[in-house]
Amino acid sequence: MVWQREEKFAYEAFLEKHKIILVFFILLFACLSIRLFYLQIIKGNSYRKISEQQRMHSTHERAPRGIIYSADNAVLAENEFTYIILFYPFGQHQTPSNKNIEELNKILGRDVKPTIDKRRRYGRVVKLADNLTIEEMFKIQEKKMSLEGISVVKEPRRIYYSPEATSHITGYTNEMNTYEVEELLEQGYKIGDYVGRGGIEQSYDKYLQGKEGGWQIEVNARGEQVKAFKYVSPEIGANVYSTIDLKLQQTTYDALKNSATGRGAVVVLDIKTGAVKALVSCPGFDANKVGTNKDFGNYSRDKQLPFFNRTTQSFYPPGSIFKVVTFAAAVELLNINPKETINCTGSFELGDRHYSCWYKQGHGKVNLISATAQSCGVYFYQLGLELGVRNLEKYAKKFYLGQKTGIDLPNEKKGFVPSPEWKKLKMKMSWFQGDTVILAIGQGALWVTPLQMAYMMSAVANKGICHKPYIVDKVVEVNGNELYKHVLESNEYINLSDKTWSLLHQALLETVEHGTGRRSKLPGIKVAGKTGTAQNPQGKDHAWFISYAPADNPEIAMAIIIENGGGGGLNAVPIGRKIYETYFNIDPEKGDQ
């Protein structure tokens, strides 16, 4: 077949080219088919996922956190509800339009910014404003049709009823920071979650959190809701029952706040169980306010370090209260005669150096008991020298100094007990006898936390039986299901002879009856304790008082420190008295008579 009126070769030339064109078209269609196969079969699953993601939104409804109770079932931390504005991205809009922002600004009368801050994103959702009043909420709901992608959501907010007094027990919550997002995501948090900071909020965060809920809705390209699929109601977190005695805590906080410097720490432990009755670090912070950036900044710049939990994180030199350890070691190892006296001239000489007693005139003739009661330095220098550094170190560790107590609060510190090896390593110097002498009265590189001191005192009161301190008794779900219950642990035991314990009790009782702790003497109840005035290189002496009561059948033990408070007997002891008065319900007027 050829073209009419054309020569044959012209048609054959045409057929050649026709073939080329046909092959060319086949190639083009093959390309299209390969691409189609690639998109739909090979990448199909991932594209299906994307298409599902962009049509499905879930409205994040944050779960209220569990309630924190005190020992007498008073509420320490609860939730109240506020309204927040959220923006759901749709179509090509990842941030709300300027028009909508202006509209919101007009209604709220404040500056709303569409932030791209990671902290303010809940997945793809952006938080525009929080703490709305109900009127503002209604106004926005009225104009909802013109405000594309914007919705108002109810959100729980944490409220603390004794914000300052219990600040270090409860801690506080806020949204996660940009720099910690990755770490927290690994721990199973989601972006936008509130995270507990410090105190019970942090250590029991997993229980308190609850489960997020919300609507699963289908939206179209304009961000309008097409249909809702299902609603998952948020689950409130489990309630936490702490061991704190709120009245005692409040009294203690007020007493510390009104003390000489207003800075200090108190730990009150239940001797029978190890439960924390009160745990005060002063100054505290207002847990209701720290959520806002401004107040947070103010608190973190404060020179008095309100965020610092002094009871578990702060190191202090123990000073004379360490004499309890020296005392125990001396009775155990030196077979000392308690009646034997030495003469205190107010100064102790070792080689060419003088170590003075706090009482410059000297106590005169003192024996073991009266030296403790009067806190005589010279007597204990003598004992320390006879014991040697090895024994002091051994006994300090026996009383669990330099170790964590294991309390269920975050970031507890260990403290420190020095040793000749440590000094060699760190200071490149050998251990001198002078170091031993000052170690015997709790100075030198010996560092303890107030909690450790209270723990030591409860062990002394219990004749060696140690109960691990704890602050949360139980965690109970809303439906009554108990998730956690504290078990009494008394596997730690300080093994000393009965003679040592009775002598120590006698000495501590004498301290309060006639010695340096007499300002805490109570009518009807016998208190045993020891004062301390710890010299510290940074400034004025710290005032210490550790004690337990009633002496014959101990119930509570406590450690009090007032930072730079001066003499322990003068400044720390009266606070101890106030705490005992509150605990034992003693009318202070009657006591004075």
């Binding site: 030339a13 269609f29 299209l32 079969i41 699953n45 594209y47 298409s51």
Partner: protein
């Protein structure tokens, strides 16, 4: 002229049934998809009724053109040419403006886009011209007259301005010139000319957008500033010309004898390309330029112009093997897909019908084009062959560009998918084209 059988007997016995079958299947897919795609607009029946009306008119045109001997077009080629020019000029005068383009005759209920008809007329005219002057195919004057015909159409369409409608002219012209026996070298020159004319304005846009985004690339930035601010571009063009002439001279000295015509033609086409870029730059709208640039580098503008491509790819990909089902495509029904009843209709097929239906659609398109090429092979004269090849090329070009676009292989140019997309004018012109194809096919055994 022998008239043994009547028209209907010839129709049933000689018509290319495969072509009709492919066409019918594609029409069926089209109606179903348009119904689904317009469902979320609320009035799918309105769109469908317009489409049916156009289809009815088109079928009348198809039958008329089938019964008409296509050789009349060859005899009346001057009339057809003048008529096409009249159409294009009158739309510039009487036409109404839609989306910034003066390209529609508005008849109230429906509106007609004369460019769609003019395209078919151009193929008829060009084929006729090539057929008459086939023996002069090696001459430059021949090429120049072809380009005179081409430019007259392009100029009028650019006046509207409608960039995307001009695109199909280039492959049709090139393929027909190739078929008639023009040397591939000249076609290469033409392609250089055309691509220069389009790429220079694009380069400018691209550099503009890059300037805002990539301040880091010091070399690129300096290059762009130099290009924009001085005669730097002219220097580059002159250097290229000098290099071409120089290398030709060098080869001549090496006694590799190449006619002086080749370098001169290449140089001239480069110069012409540069000059032609000026009117192209003026007619290209800003968004069109951006679209083309975004295709070259989608990361330039992921939220704006890149959005359409991304959503289309998501729609097609999420269809997977069997699709999400009729009216169940989330991308389509929730409005994520742009222009879903016109340019992006293939994405709807891909999403709701899945790979099976999409691949089947591609297959039927190929069947259709293959049959059109077969008609070209079997036509009884050169004119018929050229017209059939021209029409086949037009269909193939539309399919490849449009489906390539929705799958992210081609720039977003606003070209509809012939036969499938919603649109009366393109439906009408497609059916007319099929009518002409049928006419050629029907008369393949008719000798005179």
């Amino acid at each position: 002229m022998i008239q043994e059988k009547n028209f209907f007997q010839r129709l049933t016995s000689n018509i290319d049934w495969w072509l009709v079958f492919a066409f019918a299947v594609l029409m069926l897919i089209s109606f179903i998809t348009i119904y689904s795609a317009c469902f979320n607009y609320g009035t799918p029946l309105k769109y469908l009724s317009v489409q049916f009306l156009a289809f009815g008119l088109g079928v009348v045109g198809l039958l008329f053109l089938t019964s008409l001997n296509y050789q009349y077009f060859k005899q009346l080629d001057k009339v057809v040419y003048v008529l096409s020019l009249v159409l294009l000029v009158s739309v510039l005068i009487f036409g109404s403006v839609k989306r910034g383009t003066r390209g529609w005759f508005d008849f109230g209920y429906i509106s007609l886009q004369p460019v769609e008809i003019a395209k078919i007329m151009f193929i008829l005219v060009l084929a006729s011209f090539l057929d008459r002057k086939a023996k002069e195919a090696k001459r430059v004057s021949f090429l120049i007259s072809v380009f005179a015909i081409l430019i007259s159409h392009l100029f009028l369409i650019m006046m509207q301005p409608d960039f995307s409608s001009t695109l199909s002219y280039f492959p049709v012209t090139l393929v027909l010139l190739f078929m008639i026996g023009v040397q591939p070298f000249y076609l290469l020159c033409i392609m250089v000319l055309g691509s220069l004319a389009i790429c220079i304005p694009l380069l400018e846009t691209f550099l503009n957008m890059q300037l805002q985004l990539l301040q880091k690339e010091i070399f690129l930035t300096n290059f762009a500033i130099a290009l924009k601010s001085s005669w730097f571009g002219v220097y580059i063009a002159l250097t290229v010309l000098f290099l071409i002439i120089g290398s030709w001279w060098f080869l001549w000295k090496l006694r590799v004898k190449i006619s002086i015509v080749y370098p001169v033609v290449l140089c001239v086409s480069i110069l012409l390309g540069c000059v032609a870029s000026i009117p192209v730059e003026k007619s290209l709208k800003d968004y069109q330029r951006k679209r083309l640039v975004v295709f070259l580098n989608p990361k330039v503008d992921p939220r704006g112009s890149g959005y359409n491509i991304i959503q289309s790819k998501i729609a097609i990909g999420s269809g997977k093997f069997t699709g999400k089902g009729f009216k169940k495509g989330t991308q389509t029904q929730l409005g994520f897909l742009p222009e879903q009843h016109t340019d992006f209709i293939f994405s709807v097929i891909g999403e709701e019908g899945g790979w099976i239906i999409a691949q089947l659609t591609l297959f039927f398109y190929f069947l259709f084009i293959w049959r059109a090429l077969t008609i070209a092979k079997e036509a009884r004269d050169r004119y018929g062959s050229l017209v059939a090849v021209g029409l086949a090329t037009m269909f193939a070009f539309y399919v490849v560009i449009n489906i390539g676009m929705v799958m992210g292989m081609m720039p977003v140019t606003g070209i509809p998918l012939l036969l499938l997309s919603y649109g009366g004018s393109s439906m009408l012109s497609s059916l007319c084209a099929i009518g002409i194809l049928c006419s050629i096919s029907l008369r393949r055994y008719t000798y005179y």
